[in-house]
């Protein structure tokens, strides 16, 4: 690449992100305030000024969503933890409406932008004779076009429906379980050919995470008591990949992270089941045995005939995923050693999935919300404080799969979280009972929805509940979506 090409790439990346940020801010503001609001006006002018500058130079400002990549004027936009929410914003706005491309042309004016922004606004208010506002996807199907905008072109494609995506995602999830089972039951060797398949599988899983992140979180609610390591490893893989994506890791790094997470507990194959599944507290000797599984995992991975095919990080993660920030974890090293980044990521994912899973030695599993709260309290001791914070903001205070009691008396499952912290307690939820407690296969509603007056929220979370207490198997609801 020549120097000028490189400069152009950098310029477009910066400009694209800046424009996207302004577009995002304005869209967000439009959902809180009217167009004549001072903040709205200010942000609109800011956006228009940036657009004018770009269009003078480039003649078009074109966002193109291609699979899991967003391009601006032909250049891939690079996202990190600082601006990941912008990618999510575009993805969440575009995908339900089957939009693949948004382009602004010279001549675009304020009114056109206002009309366009408002056309994106979901109907979160009740219409007359409507008890539940429609979902954006439903809206998209009913309103295929966003309207006529002479200087704003939107391109749509015949993309998969939400149901199809979920079905595929579930299929890949179970393929992942199968694949891991093949390794654990030694029907497959850890050789370079099979590891290539593992890479492919991780990549596919990642694509699904980007396309359907909330649903994949929902799938991690599948907890298999008998084959704990199997489910647990896939769940950890999903959560680690999602966190890695948030941090802005490159694709190659993400695959290595995924593989490392996939095999992080392989050392447990060397631990007797009666210790792994012991109902009560472990004695000293049993604890020592359990604490060998990290380096047993390393040994197992080292038996690989083609060690080069496995990312070296997989060894580190197998070894370090029980190490703590305060050095009180295991195994105990001879000398002080820095825990690798991937190990820290997998540790967080591992802990979250472990404590939200019922185990023989634990009376009850933590709810997702309790888990997040507990993990944030352990920042700096158990976990890297910054990484756990990113994880928590990714999962939010009420993660997907949390069972909540609403002020209407309805029970609901969190289906989709919001990326803005003040909105964490206003997720989209699936109603699973009516106000009288009758079990229903209810709609998905937005807790940010307000009544006709626009003043009061229709529904609010009163309390987080334990699913076991009500005999609810959370994963059933997500699997039902994938039928």
């Amino acid at each position: 690449m020549t120097k000028s090409q490189r400069s152009r790439e950098i310029y477009l990346n910066q400009t694209g992100l800046d424009l996207l940020n302004k577009f995002y801010m304005l869209t967000r503001t439009s959902r809180l305030y009217e167009p004549n609001n001072l903040l709205f006006v200010h942000q609109l002018r800011d956006l228009l000024q940036s657009l004018d500058e770009i269009l003078q130079k480039e003649k078009v400002a074109h966002f193109l969503l291609r699979a899991t990549t967003l391009l601006f004027n032909g250049v891939k936009l690079k996202f990190s933890h600082v601006n990941y929410h912008l990618f999510r914003f575009i993805y969440d706005e575009f995908t339900p409406r089957h939009i693949v491309s948004l382009a602004f042309y010279p001549g675009v004016k304020e009114k056109e932008i206002i009309d366009f922004i408002l056309s994106l606004k979901p109907e979160t208010s009740l219409k007359k004779d409507q008890s539940i506002p429609p979902s954006p996807e439903k809206e998209a199907l009913e309103q295929p076009l966003l309207g006529e905008f002479p200087h704003i072109k939107v391109e749509k494609s015949a993309a998969k429906t939400g149901a199809e995506r979920k079905k595929n995602a579930a299929r890949v999830y179970f393929l992942g379980l199968t694949h891991l089972k093949e390794y654990l039951t030694q029907k497959k060797d850890l050789d370079s050919k099979n590891l290539l398949t593992t890479r492919r599988m991780i990549q596919t899983l990642f694509d699904h995470i980007v396309e359907n992140e909330p649903f994949l979180y929902g799938l991690t609610s599948i907890k298999n008591h008998d084959e704990y390591t199997l489910n647990h490893s896939i769940n950890v893989c999903i959560l680690a990949l999602a966190l890695g994506r948030r941090l802005g890791l490159e694709r190659k790094e993400l695959v290595e992270l995924g593989i490392s997470a996939f095999f992080h507990d392989v050392g447990k194959l060397e631990i007797p089941l009666e210790i792994l599944n012991k109902p009560g507290k472990l004695d000293e000797a049993e604890r020592r045995v359990i604490e060998t599984h990290p380096y047993k995992g390393v040994q197992k991975l080292l038996q690989l005939p083609h060690l080069k095919a496995l990312p070296l990080q997989a060894l580190h993660v197998a070894m370090e995923h029980h190490c703590r920030e305060d050095d009180r974890g295991y195994p105990r090293y001879r000398g002080k050693k820095t825990i690798s980044l991937f190990s820290k990521i997998v540790k967080i994912a591992d802990y979250y999935d472990a404590i939200t899973t019922p185990r023989p030695y634990r009376k009850k599993a933590f709810t997702p919300a309790e888990a997040i709260n507990l993990m944030m309290d352990k920042a700096g001791e158990e976990f890297d404080p910054t990484l756990v914070k990113v994880f928590a903001s990714m999962m939010t205070a009420c993660p997907v799969g949390t069972l909540v009691l609403l002020n209407t008396g309805e029970l609901a499952l969190v289906y989709e979280t919001k990326s803005d912290p003040p909105q964490f307690l206003r997720p989209r939820v699936k109603l699973i009972t009516d106000a009288q407690g009758k079990k229903i296969d209810g709609p998905i509603v937005d807790l940010a929805a307000k009544d006709e007056s626009g003043q009061n929220y229709l529904r609010s979370i009163v309390k987080v509940l334990e699913p076991d207490k009500y005999g609810i198997k959370v994963s059933n609801y997500f699997m039902a979506e994938a039928q």
Partner: protein
């Protein structure tokens, strides 16, 4: 009539794109050129002018196509590329088929988009070329395409393809949940949950609910973190950047070696311990073969630390560890180093010598080779220091790398030998007395002069007849320093030969000095005789060796000279007499001053 989809037109869902003839033809030509370019790349390198020409042309053709169409979208079958529903390329011989190359890894569609750059095309072909050389079981074009994430090239590879690779024998099937399973029955709230609901309702009625989005969850607010806790502060964001950056900068091998060392330390059972030890040894070998000497050195340092630990507490592990270290030291490291150096990999010099120190004297021959390869000053200095340190442990091996062409190194070797306690050092050094390299020869002679061995002077003596002046002079000086009587007779004879006259003044003075310092009665008598009556010189030539002797005496010990002069007695020759007076004057001047009169007396 078919309708061509043009640039800027949105695709219409669920309707096939219909292409006009012109576009189809253009697409076909483009694909043909794509295939041809790929064939060229398989024959030549990417830098080859032919290949560049093809890529340039292909790039132009793409440009022309994109002027009318935003995308070239090819359906992929096992033997063909299709544009729309028309074949634009077919190759039934699978081994040569580019469509099959993609198809076998599950690709069903390949798209090239407007904006495609030449760089991207080159990277694309580089990728294809790399994959095409790998065995099918070790390659997957989709895995590579995914990682490259080309901005203007995408593909469709349905997930179903994974099912051909996974789950042939065992399958975890998704369990089915009938939707009606989610319905039916009633859930009654537990008393505490009911109470929470009522409390919420009461508080709302009392106007305690705010309009803040998070308000509503009153019961468990203390259990749930506040929104502010989730937001990254600036310094946290910066820390994250550093964390990621550090991760990318880390040497993976180095970290892995550290990890394996810890595993070796922790593992109690011998069999897995030896397996990990073997893996570590292999990793060390691999890093060495890549020229990453610093990493290998760190690994060895770790192992040596472990050795100390195991000596105290774990004898069985110590045995295995020592055996591994022995193999590395004696069998593996040097060949690997030689191999990596042959690949022109320049190692870190300090680490290299650290490693060679670990190996010990058997690395000296390699050092010799390295000295020739790296004229770099810092390297040469390190090499010399290494020789001085390690060479003492095995002088014969050290001698093997001494060479007339390696002057600096050989000089260091000679000094190292001379400083050693080895009883054979005289014979080692003697090999260099006749070196063709003058500096080496002179240094050897000089070193000889510091050796207390009685044979030293005899070995130097023949050099008095060396054709080179510097050698003769150096030899003479050496004899003076050695002060060994064993050669006195020979010296005496040489002085009395007529050829003595042809020697340089330095030689003459040195030989006289030798005799003077010897202090034997014979040498003293001879020297006195020289001053009184140099009978063997022809007066006609007017050469007076006495004068040379007197010149020599000026540089000798004053008291010794005074004693000698006092023994002389009467001197008849006027010239000699005057010269002696001058000598005495010089001595007396010294002696007056010594007495501290401060006055000059003649």
């Amino acid at each position: 009539m078919s309708t061509a989809r043009k640039k800027g037109d949105p695709p219409v869902a669920n309707q096939p794109d219909l292409l006009d003839e012109a576009t189809l033809q253009q697409g076909k030509e483009l694909v043909t050129w794509l295939i041809k370019t790929f064939s060229q790349i398989k024959l030549y390198s990417l830098d080859h002018p032919n290949v560049r020409q093809f890529i340039d042309t292909l790039s132009q053709k793409f440009g022309a196509f994109f002027a009318q169409n935003p995308v070239l979208e090819l359906e992929v079958t096992d033997t063909a590329f299709l544009l729309g529903d028309k074949k634009v390329h077919e190759e039934t011989q699978l081994i040569r088929s580019l469509p099959f190359f993609f198809y076998k890894d599950g690709v069903t569609r390949l798209s090239f988009h407007e904006g495609l750059t030449q760089d991207e095309l080159i990277q694309f072909f580089q990728l294809l070329e790399k994959i095409s050389h790998l065995p099918p079981e070790e390659s997957d074009i989709v895995v590579s395409l995914w990682e490259m994430d080309f901005p203007h090239i995408d593909y469709l590879a349905p997930d179903e393809f994974l099912e051909t690779k996974i789950g042939q024998e065992t399958r975890v099937t998704p369990y089915k949940v009938a939707r009606n399973f989610l319905e039916g029955g009633t859930l009654h709230l537990a008393p505490e949950d009911q109470a929470a609901l009522q409390k919420y309702a009461h508080q709302r009625t009392a106007g305690l609910e705010g309009s803040h989005p998070s308000a509503g969850l009153l019961e468990d607010e203390e259990l749930l973190p506040s929104p502010a806790r989730f937001q990254l502060r600036r310094e946290e964001s910066d820390r994250l950047e550093i964390l990621i950056h550090k991760h990318r900068e880390l040497s993976q091998e180095e970290e892995t070696i550290h990890l394996l060392v810890e595993t070796i330390y922790l593992e109690e059972k011998i069999q897995p311990f030896t397996q990990v030890l073997q893996s570590l040894s292999s990793l060390i070998e691999e890093t060495l073969s890549q020229g990453k000497v610093t990493i290998a050195v760190h690994a060895l340092d770790h192992l040596l630390d472990l050795e100390k630990e195991f000596r105290k507490t774990q004898p069985e592990k110590l045995l295995h560890l020592n055996e591994t270290l022995r193999q590395l030291k004696e069998e593996k490291i040097i060949p690997l180093l030689i191999k990596s150096l042959e690949k022109m990999v320049t190692p870190d010099f300090e680490s290299l010598f650290h490693l060679l120190e670990f190996i010990g004297p058997s690395s000296l021959s390699l050092v010799g080779r390295l000295i020739d390869n790296y004229p770099d000053k810092s390297f040469q200095e390190l090499a010399c220091a290494f020789i001085q340190k390690i060479g003492l442990q095995n002088l014969p091996l050290l001698l093997e790398i001494a060479d007339d062409h390696r002057e600096k190194t050989t000089l260091v070797i000679l000094r190292t030998i001379a400083n050693s306690d080895d009883p054979r050092k005289l014979s080692y050094l003697a090999r260099f007395l006749r070196s063709r390299n003058l500096h080496i020869q002179l240094e050897t002679i000089s070193l000889f002069s510091s050796l207390p061995d009685p044979k030293a002077a005899k070995l130097i003596l023949p050099l008095l007849d060396d054709p080179q002046l510097e050698v003769r002079q150096q030899a003479a000086r050496a004899l003076v320093r050695l002060n060994q009587p064993s050669v006195s007779e020979d010296i005496l004879n040489r002085i009395q030969e007529k050829s003595f006259n042809r020697r340089s003044l330095t030689e003459k003075k040195a030989l006289f000095a030798y005799l003077f310092r010897l202090k034997t009665p014979e040498s003293r008598d001879f020297l006195k005789g020289l001053l009184k009556k140099p009978w063997w010189w022809s007066p006609a030539t007017r050469i007076n060796p006495g004068l040379w002797l007197i010149d020599t005496l000026k540089e000798e010990d004053r008291l010794e000279v005074e004693d000698f002069l006092n023994e002389l007695g009467l001197i008849r020759n006027r010239k000699i007499r005057r010269a002696l007076q001058g000598l005495k004057y010089k001595l007396k001047l010294h002696s007056h001053r010594d007495k501290g009169t401060g006055r000059e007396e003649t």
